[in-house]
């Protein structure tokens, strides 16, 4: 009876958190601490990896102490993390050789173009599932090797280690240098079929294999923690979006989760074979449990969703808090003919058009701020529809239920519109912290705290559900209008303005 809880450490972009869960998957205790965002130049974003580790130690201890839980009551600890953020440290001293380069950082812009060469951004796509882009870790690591004094030599002599944030935290906790398949899948360096580092890509990017961690499953005991959590098995690692997929118990092919925050991340479980996207989605890992076959996924992200509501609040002042968008949108029956395509920095999945810019269209003298508020909410729904249509086409599976989480799920009107435009059920689970829950589940499974995934499924409960109420003819017409609006965003940028 002594080991009653599983701890999840969520090392996120703005903060680190620790949540303790009980056997029913309920939150017992939470602690959180923000870290600094370091902006050395426009477009550059860094984190201090030592500061992050110090915060992780504090939030773990606080979360336990807040609820009078001792480390020996913790059955396992799982890690979930901001993906792609890259850190390199000295093997002997543990000191980072440079600040961690954050996923949003665009310093590798020229480098990725150079790496694409004549074949362009899809040069490595068949092997790793990803187009060359500034987000991913491989090019960031290459940048460090090229730009930190003497680093390449130290790397070739095996004196330094590379990791994404999961690897950094696990190394700090246990001294083991490992990562899991989901985090490795975001480096561009892992081969999707073998789940090993791809030597051709390593050669092409000029990365010595000696700095790379061992790729393990998402759910197994990597080692025992030292320090405060002394003796507790460290037993899972999942990138944040993959953890949310797992926490939403999307265990079957065709299950889709959507995390609605400032941006939106949609991930579909596609089963044990990787699906190559014909429609601009990314092929990635869902999760891998111990020795069981890896589960693959398709991912489509939407850059501007919740941030459009913030834009309405901060740049137009139409609302004073984000939740008021629902109040304002409910002052009208429909969008009044108005459509808002927030292509603020181009269109992403499934269009991938960097020459696009945002439009508000269909304006007449009739349109008021309520209609614009509605168009803002509808923009999130139609962008979801575009990604879901692409997923359905690629995976040849029809979506029936979308499992949602994230801050925007508090907006009931948005959830109803989402159900209407997708013509599918939209379901919000009882525990909104699906990212942490996913990491806890994977860790708990690894140590036998939970016997199997069926038990986890039984823990999953609906907190709310929305079903489609829109007439098919209306849906058709609105989608047609949305597509017209999307066309009007294209070609706004007429030449490369870099």
């Amino acid at each position: 009876m002594s080991q009653q809880y599983v701890a999840a450490i969520d090392q996120g972009t703005t903060s680190s958190r620790c949540i303790l869960f009980d056997r029913d998957g309920r939150i017992v205790s939470v602690d959180q601490r923000e870290h600094r965002q370091i902006f050395p130049r426009p477009g550059w974003v860094e984190h201090d990896a030592d500061e992050i580790w110090a915060n992780v130690e504090v939030v773990v201890q606080n979360a336990l102490e807040k609820s009078d839980i001792t480390p020996d009551q913790v059955a396992a600890v799982g890690i979930t993390n901001q993906r792609e953020t890259t850190v390199v440290w000295d093997k002997e001293t543990g000191e980072p050789v440079h600040n961690a380069i954050v996923w949003q950082d665009t310093r590798t812009d020229d480098l990725v173009r150079e790496l694409g060469g004549t074949e362009g951004q899809d040069r490595f796509r068949a092997a790793c599932g990803l187009p060359l882009a500034t987000y991913f870790s491989g090019p960031k690591l290459r940048w460090l090797l090229d730009n930190v004094d003497g680093l390449r030599g130290r790397a070739e002599r095996g004196e330094v280690l590379f990791g994404t944030m999961d690897t950094w935290i696990i190394w700090k906790l246990t001294g083991r240098h490992v990562t899991d398949v989901t985090n490795a899948s975001r480096t561009m360096l892992m081969n999707l079929s073998t789940l090993e580092w791809d030597s051709e890509i390593l050669d092409a990017m000029g990365i010595p294999a000696s700095v790379l961690p061992e790729i393990r499953s998402s759910s197994e005991v990597y080692g025992e923690a030292r320090g405060y959590l002394s003796g507790v098995p460290v037993a899972s690692s999942l990138g944040d979006q993959h953890a949310a997929l797992f926490g939403q118990t999307c265990f079957d092919p065709g299950d889709v989760k959507g995390t609605y925050g400032t941006g939106t991340f949609l991930v579909m479980n596609t089963g044990t074979e990787p699906v190559t996207s014909e429609n601009g989605l990314l092929t990635t890992l869902g999760y891998k449990l111990g020795d069981a076959p890896a589960v693959y996924a398709l991912e489509g992200s939407i850059a501007v969703t919740g941030s459009l509501v913030q834009w309405l609040r901060d740049n137009l002042g139409l609302i004073s808090t984000a939740p008021e968008i629902e109040t304002l949108a409910r002052t009208v029956e429909d969008n009044g003919g108005c459509y808002f395509v927030p292509a603020f920095s181009g269109l992403f999945a499934p269009h991938w058009r960097s020459d696009a810019r945002g439009v508000i269209t269909g304006l007449t003298g009739y349109v008021n701020k309520g209609h614009i508020a509605r168009a803002v909410l509808e923009a999130t729904a139609w962008q979801t529809r575009e990604v879901v249509d692409a997923m359905n086409a690629d995976a040849d599976i029809e979506l029936t239920t979308l499992k949602v989480d994230g801050g925007m799920t508090a907006d009931n009107l948005l959830m109803q519109i989402l159900s209407d435009v997708l013509d599918a059920e939209v379901v919000r689970p009882m525990v909104a912290e699906t990212t942490c829950l996913g990491a806890a589940y994977a860790a708990g499974l690894a140590v036998g705290y939970w016997p199997d995934v069926e038990t986890l499924r039984a823990n999953w409960h609906k907190a709310a559900e929305w079903t489609p109420e829109m007439e098919p003819a209306v849906r058709e017409r609105e989608y047609h209008n949305w597509n017209k609006a999307v066309k009007r965003t294209l070609g706004w940028i007429e030449h490369d303005e870099k």
């Binding site: 939740p323 801050g407 907006d411 409960h461 907190a463 559900e465």
Partner: protein
């Protein structure tokens, strides 16, 4: 530096007193509490009434805070915002209690459901956000009335001359304003409310107030479920459930800036 003005200090004391006396106070009660002559109190009350800071109930003659006072320095709490701030805590309550959770705010003499979390089982349930519930037959409504003097039941005109008629939903619904008032007094003492089969046969609900940073009750959170589950064998409420509801209410109040003491 000019001295303090006694009558303004007295006016402030009266306003503070009225803010605490949920159902309004009589002239005699106010003058007794503040140890001031009735004439003095009446003069101040009339002045405050004139500027809209105090209202007098035409029936009972009791004084209470006026609408002008309540709109001073307060930003109206948007129901959608309340839901957003309460989301995690309402989920936790549903998961701990095993029952469905609702958050209500007062709306034109009734309770407006601004948030609803399903009971955590696999039964089919429908979201009832936006529904209006009667104040006097729900725990949410009793909490709202007990802690906010301006919340009163929708008055339904009765056929014959007479006082307010509270509509009946079951044989247990409280229809007498006097009895309701007695119950609200209890609710204020306890800090939470419950109701057994007063709205729907076989169902029990219980609720506690959500307060903002000024201590004003801006809403109520509660659970509703089958009488067999929520009421113990001795016909009393399951006190564990009460503590879950009060924990959730306190947590949301903290989220809104209320101090926990």
């Amino acid at each position: 530096m000019p001295g303090r003005i006694q009558s303004i200090e007295r006016a402030a004391a009266i306003l503070r007193l009225l803010a605490g006396g949920a159902r309004g106070l009589s002239l005699a009660e106010i003058s007794r509490s503040l140890e001031l002559p009735k004439g003095t109190v009446l003069g101040i009350l009339r002045t405050l009434q004139h500027v809209g800071f105090v209202e007098q109930d035409p029936e009972s003659g009791r004084y209470r805070l006026g609408g002008g006072m309540l709109s001073l320095g307060t930003r109206y709490l948007d129901g959608n915002e309340l839901r957003t701030r309460a989301l995690n805590w309402a989920d936790t309550l549903a998961s701990r209690s095993g029952e469905s959770v609702r958050i209500g705010t007062p709306h034109q003499g009734r309770v407006l459901v601004v948030h609803h979390v399903f009971r955590p089982d696999s039964s089919r349930q429908t979201l009832d956000v936006g529904t209006l519930l009667p104040l006097h037959a729900t725990a949410l409504g009793k909490v709202l009335m007990a802690f906010d003097p301006l919340v009163t039941p929708l008055e339904e005109a009765s056929a014959e001359e007479g006082p307010v008629v509270l509509p009946s939903y079951t044989r247990f619904t409280i229809t007498s304003p006097g009895e309701l008032e007695k119950q609200l007094e209890e609710v204020r003492d306890n800090g939470w409310a419950w109701e057994a089969e007063e709205l729907v046969d076989g169902e029990v609900s219980l609720a506690a107030p959500i307060r903002d940073r000024r201590g004003t009750a801006v809403g109520a959170i509660g659970v509703r479920g089958a009488v067999e589950r929520l009421r113990g064998p001795d016909n009393r409420l399951d006190m564990e459930q009460v503590s879950y509801v009060r924990d959730a209410a306190r947590a949301i109040s903290r989220e809104l800036g209320a101090t926990p003491y």
